[in-house]
């Protein structure tokens, strides 16, 4: 870590984005395509948080080729100083690329159909959502057409995708909960049995995420799965508790009453206005904890009126 922190400013850190422009027909060595690469590089250079000295592209000043000048001196000149204006400039750039071992096969593909633009981002200035949007606006969208495709990869890009779909994750959660309600209704045939697991899940999520904020942490997008996991466990426990209560209610109510109480534990414990005598019978002997505690007229078997918790369990 010390080495990384010491040298990342000079040699680059871990936050790299690589964009590749690929043509389907022909090569990149045309005026239009080299112009695209040059302007894509310029666009990448203006993305927020980019390290301007660590961009690598044949359209950037940092990628140079060696040229022997008069007097036997060596000069390192950029491959492209501007977007090529004539066919002679295009030919010159192709000749330079094909003769430079630090470019050909590394930044430009061996079949001349693709070129890379690598960029490093400063760790303290990482704003993944903004970087994602700006790369799309300045590097990807303006330069794609039927013959040209732009691919982008890298860790900041990956986080950008996560941020982009964070809103969709919320709607997936809402739809999942609605489907769960329907499934629980089909299982319990009672709105209370369906709603209790949801309430416990929501309360668990509020407490968990509220506590994260309370201790001063932020929610990492890659940790989004954790609240889902905890909520799923809470819902699972609530369903298990409700199922156990249902089973106790049926066994306590006996065969005939149990048939009438099959609808739900709650309906057997507290009869509705339209309840039948058999359901009332099941209510009086029910072991449903909460309803018994609130509304039993005579203490069920095995407990006193002062200890509803004991007698219900």
């Amino acid at each position: 870590m010390k080495i990384h922190n010491k040298y990342s400013g000079t040699f680059g850190g871990a936050n790299n984005i690589v964009a590749m422009m690929e043509v389907k027909e022909g090569t990149i060595f045309t005026k239009e395509n080299l112009g695209r690469i040059f302007h894509m590089t310029e666009g990448m250079d203006t993305v927020y948080g980019v390290n301007h000295n660590q961009i690598e592209s044949i359209g950037h000043r940092t990628v140079r080729h060696l040229r022997v000048a008069a007097g036997g001196t060596l000069r390192a000149e950029p491959v492209m100083l501007r977007a090529p204006q004539t066919q002679e400039e295009v030919d010159s750039i192709r000749r330079i690329v094909h003769n430079a071992e630090n470019i050909y096969g590394l930044i430009v593909s061996l079949d001349d159909k693709a070129a890379l633009i690598r960029a490093n981002f400063i760790e303290g200035r990482l704003d993944y959502k903004r970087i994602f949007d700006e790369v799309n606006a300045k590097v990807v969208e303006p330069f794609q057409d039927a013959n040209t495709t732009v691919f982008v990869a890298g860790e900041p890009r990956l986080y950008g995708w996560v941020y982009r779909y964070a809103g969709d994750v919320f709607w997936i959660l809402v739809v999942t909960y609605c489907i769960e309600w329907v499934l629980r209704w089909m299982y319990f045939h009672d709105w209370r049995g369906s709603l209790r697991p949801t309430l416990t899940g929501v309360i668990a999520a509020f407490w968990g995420m509220g506590f994260i904020h309370l201790i001063g942490l932020a929610l990492d997008p890659l940790m989004l799965v954790m609240p889902f996991l905890i909520t799923a466990r809470a819902v699972s426990h609530a369903i298990r508790c409700t199922t156990a209560t249902t089973r106790n209610s049926r066994s306590a109510a006996g065969t005939s009453a149990g048939r009438s109480s099959r609808r739900s534990p709650s309906s057997s414990c507290r009869p509705s206005r339209a309840s039948s005598p058999t359901r009332s019978a099941s209510w009086s002997s029910s072991s449903c904890r909460w309803s018994c505690c609130r509304s039993s007229r005579s203490p069920p078997r095995g407990g006193s009126s002062r200890s509803p918790f004991r007698r219900c369990c």
């Binding site: 993944y128 964070a166 407490w207 995420m209 932020a218 918790f309 369990c313």
Partner: protein, 62 residues
């Protein structure tokens, strides 16, 4: 409040807690709702942030 029924000795505290929760269910529910409301407020204050520096042990020697 003393427990006036048979309970396993090792679960006496648990039964006592259960009794208390049932006996004082309304105050308990109000407290839980208040705390839940507070945590719900904090939940909506939670930021979705990725700090690369926080993922790595910055002071680790190796």
């Amino acid at each position: 409040m003393a427990i006036d029924y048979e309970v396993p000795e090792d679960k006496r505290a648990l039964y006592w807690l259960g009794d208390q929760l049932i006996t004082y269910r309304n105050p308990v529910m109000i407290v839980v709702l208040l705390v839940t409301g507070l945590f719900a407020y904090w939940t909506f204050q939670l930021q979705l942030v990725t700090s690369f520096g926080d993922l790595l042990p910055q002071t680790h020697e190796s």
